[in-house]
């Protein structure tokens, strides 16, 4: 990335609990939050963060974004208001499906009570840009603001375009991330009809027995700032967005390219953007969904893009702990990656026991492990990848501190 874009705050509401540090510590210590084949945010109470009025004006995906955003802004030292001109602060939040529960409730009202029974709150709750708008409204962020929609790559795309906004001079800071709350009857039935979700209810990415993803919900929000400005105000820096690459398979709506060709190009583009070679990468936070197709294609993509280094670099999937957060996944994973880099640790792929033929990378089975020491004493660097239905591939190069 041509400009210096740093992360000054993170917040996450995930199935592992409330808080970005909770996510990092519980995943690293091997906790799995999947219960009964799903991963809800059971500890989340919207009224801990927002008024009843604000909560009622927000679908659950927006509530999760508001709560994660609150944590991120306080973490960035923005608790008493942003230190940057608010007209120069952007807000970009990704989501896969937006206010799906609201849409389903509206449809029930329409069928049961007729058109006049549909709530006037339906539109502001269901729209996919609602989380971005709600965060902007709550904190007075008046720069560029919109949602990003690219299925399970949304969260990573959001962070990528947010970093670009700063790099291009459209904003001095951007509140960005992803949010999803799609544990609904229609969503379960729809993903189930595609055979995309696990019938065993177990998320075990890269394992030979993997049989589909386990759906989770949550939100991750990051505060990105222009590096020079953040340092000038003495901000605590959590890491740097070094590079971003995005491509499309243009191959199939719900299956990755079998060789992972598009994903490999995205990884290469992100490395190029960062000005780095595979030798500089210490850790890969994989998309690793636990589907047959993704984990194979992703392994091939990593080998294509990273060459021999692919076998050296520890590669693990957060989805083994919290399932697949769809449009929030990339944001939550970027946060988990930054905190792992800070602690120089590779968190584990939980449940990985049986290698599959051809899936022969170091998936960090079972337990976390320290990252290999670097001779150059520079901060650790990682890839965080997301691949979405539609063939969307997005990859970040993140650097710790």
């Amino acid at each position: 990335m041509r400009a210096d874009v740093v992360v000054t705050g993170v917040g996450a509401i995930t199935p592992l609990g409330v808080g970005a540090r909770t996510l990092h510590e519980r995943w690293t210590s091997g906790v799995c939050a999947i219960v009964g084949g799903e991963a809800p945010c059971a500890d989340f109470d919207p009224l801990d963060t927002m008024s009843r009025k604000e909560a009622r004006r927000a679908d659950r995906f927006t509530q999760l974004a508001i709560a994660a955003g609150e944590e991120a802004l306080i973490d960035a030292g923005w608790g008493d208001g942003p230190p940057v001109d608010p007209t120069r602060i952007g807000c970009v939040i990704g989501t896969g499906v937006g206010g799906l529960a609201t849409i389903e409730a509206g449809q029930t009202d329409l069928l049961g009570r007729g058109a006049s029974g549909v709530s006037p709150r339906s539109v502001p709750l269901m729209m996919g840009n609602a989380a971005a708008a709600a965060l902007a409204m709550r904190h007075g962020l008046q720069g560029p603001c919109y949602g990003v929609v690219s299925a399970c790559a949304s969260g990573t795309h959001a962070i990528g375009v947010a970093a670009r906004m700063i790099a291009c001079g459209d904003a001095d800071a951007v509140v960005t991330g992803g949010a999803e709350a799609a544990l609904t009857p229609l969503s379960r039935a729809s993903f189930g009809a595609l055979d995309a979700t696990s019938s065993s209810g177990i998320s075990r990415p890269f394992d030979a027995r993997r049989d589909g993803f386990v759906m989770g919900e949550g939100a991750g929000v990051l505060v990105l700032e222009d590096g020079a400005a953040a340092r000038a105000r003495g901000a605590r820096i959590l890491g740097t967005v070094r590079g971003y690459g995005a491509t499309c398979d243009a191959h199939h709506m719900v299956a990755p390219h079998p060789d992972g060709a598009g994903a490999a190009r995205a990884i290469t583009a992100a490395l190029h953007d960062a000005g780095l070679t595979p030798a500089a990468i210490d850790y890969v936070n994989a998309h690793g969904t636990s589907t047959q197709l993704n984990d194979r294609a992703e392994t091939m993509a990593l080998k294509t893009a990273l060459g021999a280094d692919a076998h050296r670099i520890p590669t693990s999937s957060l989805k083994s702990s919290i399932g697949h957060l769809l449009g929030a996944a990339g944001a939550v994973e970027a946060i988990a990656t930054l905190l792992a880099l800070r602690d120089r640790v590779a968190p584990p792929t939980l449940g990985y026991e049986q290698p599959d033929e051809g899936l022969d990378l170091d998936y960090v089975p079972g337990r976390a492990r320290p990252l290999a020491a670097r001779e150059d004493d520079l901060p650790a660097v990682a890839l965080s990848s997301s691949f979405g239905f539609g063939g969307h591939n997005a990859v970040l190069v993140l650097e710790g501190v």
Binding site: R52, K53, R56, S116, G117, S119, P120, R121, P124
Partner: protein, 80 residues
């Protein structure tokens, strides 16, 4: 004046406003919607509840003209 008594209307309106997030203790006939932080989206929802409960149709033009809880109750009572 219609057949629905004002107490029933007042109860329905008060409950709706509290559901929308207004402080129950602040809701009175004299309270302005602005002071209760009740905005146009809340009033659209109130219109829907009133139509369902009393069969009174409130258009957005009708709603725009009212500023207090009492004015809303009186308008509904006139039409009920």
């Amino acid at each position: 004046m219609g057949t629905t008594d004002n107490t029933k209307i007042e109860d329905v309106v008060t409950k709706a406003l509290a559901d929308f997030g207004a402080e129950p203790g602040d809701i009175s006939r004299d309270a302005s919607f602005e002071a209760l932080d009740i905005d146009s989206l809340d009033l659209a929802e109130l219109a829907q509840i009133v139509e369902e409960e009393f069969g009174v149709e409130l258009k957005s033009d009708d709603i725009r003209g009212i500023g207090t809880v009492g004015e809303a109750i009186d308008l509904i009572a006139q039409r009920a």
